[in-house]
Symmetry: C3
């Protein structure tokens, strides 16, 4: 990983955090523009009304201002202070109404009286405001001016795609959702991680092709899937990346299949990280829901720290930049890099001296004095030799031995250089 990754990701997060993203509109466009300053990114615009699988691309939503004000003109709820104050996709409104009537449009979190919740109404025309319970309780029983200066008009859904071709057409799909407004961990963190990752991959040699998607949640993955059905058979592994900056240990959520290559690789890699969890697939969460629908059934898992709903600040104004720690972001990036590294380099070898152990000492691969304890690299060589019958890959050996893939690959390299190991016929 390139030095300074943590700082670069934090800088991008700081730039992206204030933007008012939604599933369409200028907030997403501006977000992708900032990402495209760092990596080669194709920006796709899909017109409102386009049929995508069972869905239709909705009208584009944009918002300039919104508030609730007293008749004296004092803004008691103000979009300019936080874009969370407006229910995403609220239709325009300009009226005066008494508090009793207004209440049906107000959302708060009684259990966290100082936090503003995040709410949406993408597919059902309505409007609403979110505010802290304490603010709600303080509202006098009076008439209020209610204003949402938004537009819902024919436009387009925007998503970004970064394709980094490799020697092989086999693809690794990496996606993150770009539809949340000022929520830091969910999911400015994921956008920052995928941007830094793309920059690193762009500068590396690649056996596999990488496709990174910056997409609005649900409708974005559905739109991309609808437009790319013929490509799906190239996907050999995939990861949805989200909520990667909070203090929790890493979690990997398996694909629907449960034992796909990505599942095994991710479990191996993160199992070496303290407290890490490997979770079974459930049809809830982020865009893995779409990739793992039965008609596609793609080998796509999900990497995060906390899962949706697991951290207290989730979907509220408290999910701010303080929740995300640069070391946590960098550690998550390292895990993704290591997962991709295993996907790139896992292979099956054949022991060329399979009868008995070959004499490693005469090849300089074994300590000359015997009687002491085994060293890790000796053990790694012995495992590779013992298991390399053409059927077992380095990952298989890592799973059986409990030795890290990296250590085994180094051992395999030494053995291959000594003429004791050859790559197995790939067929």
């Amino acid at each position: 990983m390139k030095a300074g990754a943590g700082a670069r990701m934090q800088e991008l997060m700081t730039e992206l955090f204030p933007l008012c993203r939604s599933i369409t509109g200028e907030g997403v466009r501006e977000t992708l523009r900032k990402v495209s300053e760092r990596i080669p990114l194709d920006i796709h615009e899909v017109p409102s009304g386009t049929s995508v699988l069972d869905w239709t691309v909705p009208e584009e939503w944009n918002i300039r201002d919104a508030y609730i004000a007293t008749r004296g003109g004092e803004r008691v709820v103000d979009f300019r202070q936080s874009n969370l104050h407006v229910v995403s996709y609220s239709e325009p409104v300009q009226t005066v109404m008494p508090l009793a009537e207004l209440r049906a449009h107000l959302h708060a979190l009684p259990e966290h009286p100082d936090w503003v919740p995040y709410r949406t109404s993408y597919y059902s025309r309505t409007w609403g405001f979110c505010l802290a319970q304490r603010e709600l309780d303080a509202l006098a029983d009076a008439d209020y001016e209610v204003s949402i200066d938004s537009t819902l008009e024919a436009g387009s859904l925007t998503y970004g795609e970064c394709v980094l071709p490799g020697e092989s057409e086999d693809e690794v799909l990496l996606t993150t959702h770009v539809c949340h407004p000022s929520l830091a961990n969910d999911n400015v963190s994921g956008i920052a991680l995928l941007t830094e990752l793309a920059a690193a991959l762009a500068g590396a040699s690649r056996r596999l092709t990488y496709r990174l998607l910056f997409i609005p949640g649900t409708i974005g993955s559905i739109t991309w899937l609808a437009r790319n059905e013929e490509r799906l058979e190239k996907i050999v592994a995939g990861l949805v990346v989200a909520c990667v900056g909070d203090p929790a240990p890493l979690s990997y959520k398996r694909s629907r299949h449960g034992d796909a290559l990505i599942d095994r690789v991710a479990a191996h890699v993160i199992s070496r990280s303290a407290g890490a969890r490997v979770l079974d697939f459930v049809p809830w969460g982020w865009d893995e829901r779409q990739f793992n629908s039965p008609g596609f059934d793609l080998p796509v898992g999900c990497l995060s720290r906390s899962r949706e709903g697991e951290y207290e600040q989730y979907h509220s104004s408290a999910d701010d930049l303080d929740v995300v720690q640069p070391e946590q972001l960098e550690d998550a990036l390292c895990a993704v890099v290591e997962i991709l590294d295993v996907l790139e380099t896992d292979r099956r070898y054949v022991n060329l001296s399979p009868k008995g152990e070959p004499q490693l000492g005469k090849r300089g691969l074994y300590p000359s004095t015997g009687g002491g304890a085994a060293q890790d690299e000796q053990l790694a060589m012995l495992w590779v030799l013992n298991q390399s019958d053409g059927a077992n890959s380095l990952l298989d050996i890592a799973e059986r031995s409990g030795i890290s893939f990296v250590t085994l690959r180094a051992a395999a390299d030494r053995l291959r250089d000594a003429g004791l190991l050859a790559e197995a016929d790939p067929s």
Copy 2:
């Protein structure tokens, strides 16, 4: 379940408890007569001497009276006080003998000095009395008059069969043993449960055919098996029901196969009940031993609370009506009903919109405001959609998701009504 089931089962138990049942004879006949007042029951009589598999139907045993009396005529052990006092199938005896000689015919429980044990000698001609250890210790060293007024004569073995045909010839076999005298949990409880169940099933629509057997233990199931070999291939699931009223949590004992449909269904249903146990098959217990013999190998498990020998009062006079609690009986009946309900309604569906999630919101199946936590019924719908690829049944989905079959079936019904789900080709 029909209201008042607990009270009705308790009432039947109270009627049946005093009867002196054995593997043949009037006690069984009277028991089946009382059952037949409540449900349609065919009473079968199989003549003594009939060959049944490796066995022979024994002579019929009946008893009018039995006692041990002092030479002064005082009954110190009296059949009229408890039918447990006589070893079941005791041959007639009328003699006087000293205590020293009599002792070889007396059975007691030193570890429970106030309880009378239950003992049998069906296939070896002898006679004996059972009494409390305290009574035994109090017997003076004198001569005693010993009288057993029983008959062992050509007659028949009696069992009851209640067949409730369904749309399909596929059968569910439900059996309980009717051979124990005044022991409440083992097994007047099982007779009461199966009677109430038959009454409920008789009034319900049925896809499957139900066959309920009220049979003497071992020789009864062997006799039925011998006479019904050609029917056995219709049996798709079965349950032996016994000891269902004591305070212990439910137990399900798997079939010999271990992973038959009935094993999966019963495990799913009772796992939702506090403290419930799922036990591996062992060739000991009740009539499941016969159904699971290697020559039949039927998918028949066993539902009970305590297993044989697990409760202190087992096979003694302390297994009286106080051991059985009506709520426990009713809870066991509910479990059986729920197991049968799963057998009736489990099926495989196909998601008709398998690419991506279908848009549930536009069909009124999803809350219009987003951002909050998932609700149970939403999750159930998503699970059914995600897994319904034609290979997974609702039970498969219940096992994988941890969601109850009932909740998933309701979700499947809503999805089917919305045109999103169709029953999979049964082939």
Copy 3:
């Protein structure tokens, strides 16, 4: 097992302990001579320089004397006190050198300052001394006379082979390493156990053929494998035996395959021994490394108490005769005998009365009074009858039931004698 086995093994250990064994030379020869006084043993001599798989039989090493002495002639390290003082396979040396220069040739154990370590340098020409850290620390900074009166010359590698033919050509391979000098548990204990075992097997009737190897570690098994490739297909099971006398509970290490017959049998047998461990295969340890190399992949596990490196005294002068307890040796021998007994007698039976349980009572196999608890031998008979459908062996039944193989075999014998069981067609 023959009476007095523990005492005989202890006696042999006491004779063998002082000999200076290595992978070649007179120490091994003398060891095998003593073994051959007790069992029929073929002694093989394989000339130095012979190619064996990827290895070459090394020159033969012999040693008469060795010491480090002060210029005043006082021996401060003396081979005559312990053969561990010389690094095995040290080349001859006769010189004077200052302590500073000598230090590179000295090995000690700082964490055990009173113990002399065991070190070897078989395949890299050098010389060295092992001594206690306390002795090393006490050496004055002076010149020392260094003398190793050894020879490294063309000769041969020696191993012993005891073949005990059975009715079948199917072979069980049993091996132990004979290359360690005065180390008691590792591995005079293994030599003593295999000697006693061979004596016992020689006097028993045998269905299987037994081949017992007394071989130098690594190069010995490689040499035997190179010379016996055509025999390997006869091997149906094998055990490497080593470190069998220390106080630790028994351990069985599985073969590379992991679920070979020997793995199942050994796990069943030792699981009945308190604290016993069954360990997965790792390509480290003793000669199981060679037998389990991918080109041979033989069903050979390893029985020991402590594994290599697990006991504190391992590979040091503290591994003396006090470490080995005769009861532990005898207990390990019993385990091996029981494992071989299962290999000899395991078979599949067919229940000849498979429909329902056969009536055991009329054959005298069941208690005549019913109602009490099941007895172990009844349960064993019922398990054998229930599972003997031709597919399950007695070992399968032992694994499923948790009943010992010995008890089940006795039950099967009774059932076979009663005409209820026949051996299944071996095909």
